[in-house]
């Protein structure tokens, strides 16, 4: 039992690289999207605001698996373009989806900073950009931390879908192992879950830490 467990682990570890590389890249891109889209929704320009609202609502309103298939099957047909590799299709689908969710975190955190802060900034003759950079964002960032931690776990969970478009990640190797050793199926999937959980542990720790930082020194 223990030996087969180790066997399965070493077999699965072939997929670890794909899972982690997709997770890290998608997380980085979704953070960028979150800030760009979140701040754009607060822009004074109605066109920018409308366009980002459209993007955010579309991606929040449909599900990740549908978006992934859409990017994989439909986009190449519609625009006659090739997104290059499946790896990028996976990364872009996950990043666009969670970027939309996280942009709401950015937006609501910025909005929740007390209005007096903005007024004080105006009184001190700071420009709009300076106010955002020096006064609002440093306070809003702290509020975003716990949600960002939670979403990083969601992103990790989302990356498991990329095996559906033929990428060789953890779940892919778990599936292959299960289909060749049917009786060890339960252990194989359990090991897949354990590996995801091990990757998630530092993220759980980070989001707990984020919660503490966010709570510190806030009058309630």
């Amino acid at each position: 039992m223990f030996d087969t467990g180790l066997n399965i682990l070493s077999y699965l570890s072939q997929g670890l690289g794909t899972t982690i590389s997709i997770f890290l890249t998608a997380t980085a891109i979704s953070f960028v999207i979150a800030f760009v889209a979140g701040l754009s929704r607060l822009s004074g320009n109605i066109l920018i605001r409308g366009f980002t609202a459209f993007y955010v609502e579309i991606f929040r309103g449909t599900s990740l698996i549908v978006q992934l298939f859409w990017l994989y099957y439909a986009v190449p047909m519609l625009f006659d373009i090739n997104l290059g590799s499946n790896w990028w299709v996976g990364v872009i689908a996950v990043a666009l989806n969670y970027g939309a969710y996280m942009s709401e975190v950015v937006r609501t955190s910025v909005v929740s900073v007390d209005k007096g802060q903005t007024e004080a900034g105006i009184a001190l003759n700071l420009s709009r950009f300076q106010r955002m950079r020096e006064i609002i964002l440093p306070q809003a960032l702290r509020l975003m931390l716990p949600e960002f931690g939670n979403y990083s776990i969601q992103i990790l969970k989302g990356t498991a879908l990329v095996s559906l478009i033929g990428l060789t990640d953890l779940l892919y190797y778990g599936d292959i192992y299960r289909s060749t050793n049917l009786s060890e199926g339960p252990l194989a999937y359990l090991m897949v879950l354990v590996m995801y959980f091990i990757i998630a542990l530092p993220l759980i720790w980070l989001s707990k830490k984020g919660e503490k930082i966010a709570k510190k020194g806030v009058a309630s």
Binding site: G61, T62, V66, M77
Partner: protein
Amino acid sequence: MSYWSWETFLDAFPIIITGINVTLGLTITSFILALIVGFVWLILESTPVKAFNFIVYWIREFIRSTPPIVQIFFLYYAWPMVPYVGTSFTPFIAAMLALGIHFSTYVSEVYRSGIDSVDKGQWEAATALNFSLKDKWFDIVLPQALPPTIPMLGNYLIILFKEVPLAATIGVVGILSIARSYGADTWSYLEPLTIVAILFLVLSYPSGLLVRMLENKMNRRFDKKSTKVKVTE
């Protein structure tokens, strides 16, 4: 290369819409399961045995932070192979159990936040008035704890709805799997997948607005209460 064709769109739409019953049915049944199992977690985590609570907490954390699709595969493909307790599930039941249990871990957190939000004085008053344990929970705590959780639960219902197409991977014939097989038959994926996206958007966006409305209503109620408290201080 095929481009957007309204003909295909109109041809595929009536076929795909037939799957909506299964998609919605799976959403509702797994959500009901999540509501029930959510309570079970709450009870299991507040036994007097600290070590037991600790283990249950980590099991819940484990289920919560691992991908639901792997859990669906586990229940559908691997559970029949589990010695002694293994039985095979139909795809629908496997998906319902996996999604229901996965979301129960979130739901129990929502319940907990609702119960924590009940003022400590309410508990103390109930004890002072010699309420029985049952009366304390059903007459004092839960009527105050549950209403604020309704918008949060609504949010999770919408999130669950968007996870339901995962069941297509084990052959539950909802809108996504019909769209995919339509695509495989006719070699046009664009229109069927777009229809699926539109259906999801049409159903989840208004529900999201409804939840936001509920949330505002609850917040207003909550604010009124807190200002009342301030006045008496």
